[in-house]
């Protein structure tokens, strides 16, 4: 699965697209893992840009939960941004909305997480 990584200073933005369900969640997990290893204190912040994500099942949410646990254990920063309405509702119904830092846009996430990343984003 191509997560279309983009780096803005100390922050990496990943953009999973389409559907993450029981058929694709393992591929999502494999693609995400190398970035999670660097999602740690004094390394990278990570933002998941979900603007292109049409649907996420419980299997996909489980991958996000594991990522959240890993980020927490490594003192890293993991945020999600730009949820489509359907994915927003799934986050609300599953109560994942209360576990993640959720931002309306990638820019909003960068503004909160990293001033250097925001500056790089705005300058691009």
């Amino acid at each position: 699965m191509d997560l279309a990584p983009r780096r803005w200073a100390d922050t990496v933005v990943l953009a999973p697209a389409g559907r993450i369900d029981h058929a694709t969640s393992e591929a999502f997990q494999r693609a995400l893992q190398p970035f999670m290893e660097r999602c740690a204190a004094s390394q990278d912040h990570l933002v998941l840009d979900l603007a292109g994500l049409e649907y996420i099942s419980s299997a996909g949410l489980r991958v996000l939960m594991l990522a959240r646990k890993q980020a927490k254990a490594q003192a890293g920063t993991l945020a999600v941004a730009a949820l489509q309405p359907v994915v927003q509702e799934i986050f609300e119904i599953s109560r994942f909305i209360g576990l993640f830092d959720v931002y309306a846009s990638v820019r909003d996430a960068l503004a909160r997480i990293s001033p250097p990343a925001l500056a790089a984003f705005d300058a691009a």
Binding site: S57, L61, M65, K69, I90, R95
Partner: protein, 319 residues
């Protein structure tokens, strides 16, 4: 077939509190302002038409006990939670104590909330009744006998007058019991639990409670899809939110509404009934979970519509 829910609450029985009842009355009376409700009939019509279900009713608080009616004179039951007490009283009120009855009870597991109704199941004390208790656990009989022993209970199991028999089932096999084709499936739960699939006359009911779906293994997910396949009704442990089930309550042995919808959609089941309700949830909260689950089904529906309901004590579903 017809399913009757005698106990739908998870983990421990609960009761509607005085303050919760008062809040319902306040909501109803405010809503009734300006209505001329001077007869019971007018009041009942108003309640049915104007009040939200969670205001006019309650989900109830007995722990797991579900009856499957087949039209047979013999009774079939899933689990012996505290709902077994009103069920037993209903049987006695219907037939009186003098006429022996036969009961077939299928046990998901022997955790306390699934067996605690048996010491208060009055037909068990009456000679002439026959009770066959089926399950896959080796400790089934021991667990039921032990809860009747001192110092936990004053009346020993040996003083129960009914003919009580324990029957060990093996998961994966099909049995013909009480006019039902029955199969059991191992589920992920502390000490193991088993789901049951009941088939009769081309209809299928699945009783799957106290079952955590960790979704680490696609083959395991697929096995549940097969177990739920084309079921007319799936009674499903939806105790937690998915977030809780995968974080702070991981390995506590329960599942979520989200996983229930997904498994039923994949299995093309017709009706998902949320069950084993979280005891800390009040009626308003459970109604919210039901509304949200229906909304989830709506926004994730592809070519198959899944009916969603939430079980309450006293609910009946025709299959």
């Amino acid at each position: 077939m017809r399913v009757r829910f005698w106990g739908t609450r998870g983990s421990i029985p609960v009761a509607l509190t005085s303050s919760a009842l008062e809040e319902k009355l306040v909501a109803a009376l405010v809503k009734a302002a300006g209505h001329h409700l001077d007869t019971p009939e007018k009041a009942r019509t108003f309640i049915a038409a104007e009040l939200a279900w969670e205001v006019s009713h309650t989900f109830g608080g007995n722990s797991s006990c579900v009856q499957i009616e087949t039209g047979s004179a013999e009774y079939s039951l899933c689990d012996l939670g505290s709902g077994a007490r009103p069920f037993g009283n209903h049987v006695l009120a219907t037939h009186g104590p003098g006429k022996g009855q036969t009961f077939h009870v299928f046990m998901s597991h022997v955790h306390w909330d699934h067996i605690q109704g048996f010491p208060f199941f009055m037909p068990a004390y009456i000679p002439g009744n026959q009770i066959r208790i089926y399950g896959c656990h080796a400790v089934l009989e021991e667990a039921l006998r032990r809860q009747n022993q001192a110092p936990s209970f004053p009346v020993d199991f040996s003083r129960m007058g009914a003919a009580i028999e324990f029957v060990r089932l093996l998961p994966g096999r099909r049995y013909e019991i009480a006019g039902l084709t029955v199969s059991a499936k191992l589920q992920h739960h502390g000490g193991d639990s088993y789901g049951y699939r009941f088939e009769r006359d081309g209809k299928a009911i699945v009783y799957s409670t106290d079952s955590e779906h960790k979704q680490e293994d696609p083959a395991e997910t697929q096995a549940f899809v097969e177990f739920f396949k084309d079921a007319d009704l799936v009674i499903f442990d939806a105790m937690y939110s998915l977030a809780d089930a995968t974080s702070v309550k991981e390995d506590w042995g329960h599942s979520s509404n989200i996983v229930g919808v997904e498994l039923c959609q994949m299995a093309r089941a017709k009706h998902l009934c949320l069950f084993h309700h979280e005891p800390i949830f009040d009626d308003a909260k459970l109604a919210t979970v039901l509304r949200e689950t229906r909304r989830l089904e709506e926004i994730t529906r592809r070519d198959h519509r899944l009916e969603i309901s939430a079980a309450y004590d006293g609910m009946e579903i025709a299959v």
